[in-house]
């Protein structure tokens, strides 16, 4: 049966390590201009129901490196805008003989629904507030390059954890690999009960990033203020901004990461975002290689049985 990448929480440590080592190998080959596998008979559909530039380009670049063809799709101008259900769209793409799908959707769980109805592999490029597995893989590769290992690291994820698929995927991946995960943010933006998510909760930034080896700052959506979850953007920045002053609580060589796009001056300042401790550009670069690894993994290997994704 087809192999899907629906979320990090469905993977075990061996599978994560395998994906990361594939990515590191692809990176070396690309940089040294050595041959990489060719999947040139494979057509992957790029289904972006929600706006995305970086993730979409990153997946397309990864597919091109693997000599794959891509078929693009956006919700606007498609039959979805004429009232077609997601299931019927997926079935249409299936019988147009696309080999696999990369999917971004504003609602949690939609890649799971797609995987039910699509014959081939489905890769989650971000679903609602649920998961963004390739972002977490890219972040992990970046941390490993700088720190050597994930095991034993303290990683603070700062900001709007409640609405963040990046936070969830990172928390699963890092904890499965032996890191200590902390969620830091205002109570209104941390899930009310996070006991099924692998992270300790801190409402105070200084305590939350104390001795941290890595700080992942999350993008703050400005509409959270309109929803009453924040008093003001200024107050949020005063309490939770990762900057020169607040980073002094973390380890001196603490990495600063951000999934982008950045709100400079809100969740992060220029010193933190552009300083020598920043790994933000590496995250973007490594995103391509982990997406190559994910495509290769999903398209060339199959699941012996449905143990990874019991729902499928």
């Amino acid at each position: 049966m087809a192999r899907h990448l629906l979320g990090i929480r469905h993977l075990d440590k061996d599978q994560i390590e395998h994906l990361l080592s594939l990515a590191a190998d692809f990176k070396l080959r690309i940089i040294e201009d050595k041959p990489v596998p060719k999947l040139n008979k494979q057509v992957v559909g790029m289904l972006f129901f929600e706006n995305s530039t970086r993730t979409r380009v990153s997946f397309e670049q990864a597919a091109h490196y693997l000599s794959m063809k891509t078929a693009s799709f956006s919700a606007a101008g498609s039959s979805m805008s004429k009232g077609e259900t997601l299931k019927d769209t997926i079935l249409t793409l299936r019988y147009e003989r696309l080999n696999g799908l990369v999917m971004r959707h504003r609602m949690s769980g939609t890649p799971t629904l797609a995987a039910h109805h699509f014959g081939g592999p489905v890769l989650n490029a971000g679903d609602g507030q649920h998961e963004h597995p390739t972002q977490a893989l890219g972040d992990a590769l970046t941390i490993i390059e700088r720190k050597g290992d994930l095991d034993g690291l303290i990683v603070a994820i700062v900001g709007d954890v409640e609405h963040s698929r990046v936070a969830r995927s990172n928390a699963w991946l890092l904890s499965k690999m032996g890191a200590e995960v902390r969620f830091v943010g205002p109570k209104t933006l941390i899930p009310a009960m996070s006991s099924m998510l692998p992270g300790a909760v801190f409402y105070d930034l200084a305590t939350g990033i104390a001795d941290a080896d890595v700080v992942i700052t999350l993008r703050l959506q400005k509409e959270r203020m309109l929803e009453g979850m924040l008093s003001s953007i200024g107050e949020y920045a005063a309490m939770y901004q990762v900057n020169r002053d607040t980073l002094k609580y973390a380890q001196p060589d603490c990495l600063v990461m951000h999934p982008g796009p950045l709100n400079r001056g809100i969740e992060v300042d220029d010193v933190a975002a552009d300083g020598e401790r920043s790994a933000i550009t590496s995250q973007v670069e490594n995103g391509v290689f982990v997406r190559m690894a994910s495509l290769y993994w999903a398209f060339t290997e199959t699941e012996p049985k449905s143990e990874m994704n019991p729902a499928i």
């Binding site: 629904l113 609602g128 649920h130 969830r168 009960m193 099924m196 994704n309 729902a311």
Partner: protein, 440 residues
């Protein structure tokens, strides 16, 4: 025409009757219970040995979807499903399209329910509490009552304004009409699709907090206490909800409540990988809630069991979780699930099981049903259940139009075998042919 239901376990909670005996129906009336009925000359005989013979079941909470959503269910298919579930009287909810807020619509419902192709069960309509269920102006409740509504409710569009609810209750006191309330503070539930908790945090779905239900229950119970309006709270789902109802009863408020089988069977973890069959309003909660809901059932705080039959078409539920509608088909699984989860586990005695499925809901909503007493019902309403029948629920073998149910494939113990409303309206294929004898 004389029909003998022979040698069953007669369970009538209205008379505290639990005895192995026989029941005789003459024409469309129950004329006797007791061993002497066996000696009567009869035209047909059902051998009910080992089975329960109880008053036809009463469901206070059914969505028949007609008018407006006939692709989900119709009055014909819904009443057939009810008969197959053992029900002889069902209360249909007003959130149709248009809502049941005018006497003409009540006439329509009653006409359709009485048509020969319908399932033969009594349909007791629940009218809209406010016009168009808009939560602002009261519907013409006097005219609706004269047309035949047995209670008023805004169902899934609960009145948010406490002043409007107070006025509605005062009006209903005067009309001697119970209010059935789905309790939800919609400011707290907006955009939510499952219980707010660890599971929603993991799945990245917006949660529905327990406080949204409990706050509305407290408000409605207090208004009931102060106005004296009879209040029936629909499908409680949290331990706090049960505790609030317990307190309201202690204070003397004329309050009752119901639970639906989903809420004592499943918790929010059953949603697993975004399984929309488990999407229900209020949402499935946690195991702690189930344990304390079951305690509330056992001690009588929860008065009765409602199916909350909420049929939807298959294409409507094979969608992203957040887009899926709340609810699923329940009428034909409710008896099996209740016996499996509550009776065979020793939580409810057989008599108390029948009380919660028949007698008590009839008493709460003052329906002529739920009893074998003479004059208690216009015609003989009887349900025969084989409590030990082991079967697997198959959604493709149901009468309901909706095949959307979380109980599909579940092994159940206990099944409705026969339903009578005046005469036989349902006989199950598993009721042995040798158990039915016609004397010519």
């Amino acid at each position: 025409m004389r029909t003998l239901l022979k040698n069953g376990r007669i369970l009538d909670p209205s008379q505290d009757l639990d005895v192995v005996s026989s029941l005789l129906i003459e024409d469309d009336q129950i004329v006797g219970i007791g061993d002497e009925t066996v000696r009567a000359e009869v035209d047909e005989m059902y051998d009910c040995t080992g089975m329960w013979v109880c008053p036809g079941l009463v469901d206070p909470h059914v969505h028949l979807r007609e008018p407006g959503d006939e692709h989900k269910e119709t009055i014909v298919t819904g009443t057939q499903a009810a008969a197959a579930g053992g029900y002889t009287t069902i209360c249909c909810m007003p959130n149709t399209n248009p809502p049941l807020d005018s006497p003409a619509l009540i006439d329509f419902i009653l006409d359709r329910a009485a048509s020969p192709e319908a399932g033969g069960v009594f349909v007791a309509p629940v009218g809209a509490l406010t016009r168009g269920m808009n939560g602002e102006e009261l519907a013409d409740l006097y005219a609706l009552k004269k047309a035949g509504i047995i209670a008023a409710s805004d169902e899934g569009f609960p009145i948010q304004n406490a002043r409007v609810m107070t006025q509605a209750m005062e009006f209903c006191v005067q009309l001697d009409l119970p209010i059935m309330a789905h309790c939800e503070d919609t400011n707290l539930t907006k955009g939510g699709s499952m219980n707010e908790g660890a599971m929603s945090a993991m799945l990245g779905l917006k949660g529905i907090p327990r406080s949204a239900e409990e706050i509305a229950i407290v408000r409605n119970c207090l208004l009931s206490l102060h106005t004296g309006c009879q209040l029936h709270i629909m499908r409680v789902s949290t331990w706090g909800a049960v505790e609030m109802v317990r307190q309201a009863k202690f204070l003397g408020a004329p309050v009752t409540c119901e639970i639906c089988p989903m809420h004592f069977t499943f918790n929010d973890e059953c949603i697993g990988e975004f399984d929309t069959r488990f999407k229900i309003q209020p949402p499935l909660r946690t195991q702690v809630d189930i344990d304390l809901l079951v305690q509330g059932l056992s001690d009588g705080t929860i008065d009765c069991i409602a199916s909350d039959h909420s049929p939807h078409a298959s294409h409507e539920v094979d969608v992203p979780f957040e887009e899926a509608p709340f609810g699923s088909a329940q009428l034909e699984s409710a008896v099996g699930v209740t016996l499996t989860m509550l009776t065979h586990t020793g939580i409810l005695s057989p008599l108390e099981t029948v009380n919660k499925l028949s007698t008590k809901p009839a008493q709460i909503l003052r329906l002529d049903a739920g009893t074998f007493r003479s004059g208690g019902s216009p015609v003989a309403q009887v349900c025969v259940i084989d409590p030990d029948c082991e079967w697997t629920f198959d959604r493709h073998k149901t009468f309901s139009k909706s095949k959307n149910t979380p109980f599909d494939g579940m092994k159940l113990r206990g099944k409705t075998m026969l339903t009578f409303s005046g005469s036989e309206i349902y006989r199950d294929a598993m009721f042995g042919d040798d158990r039915y004898v016609v004397y010519s």
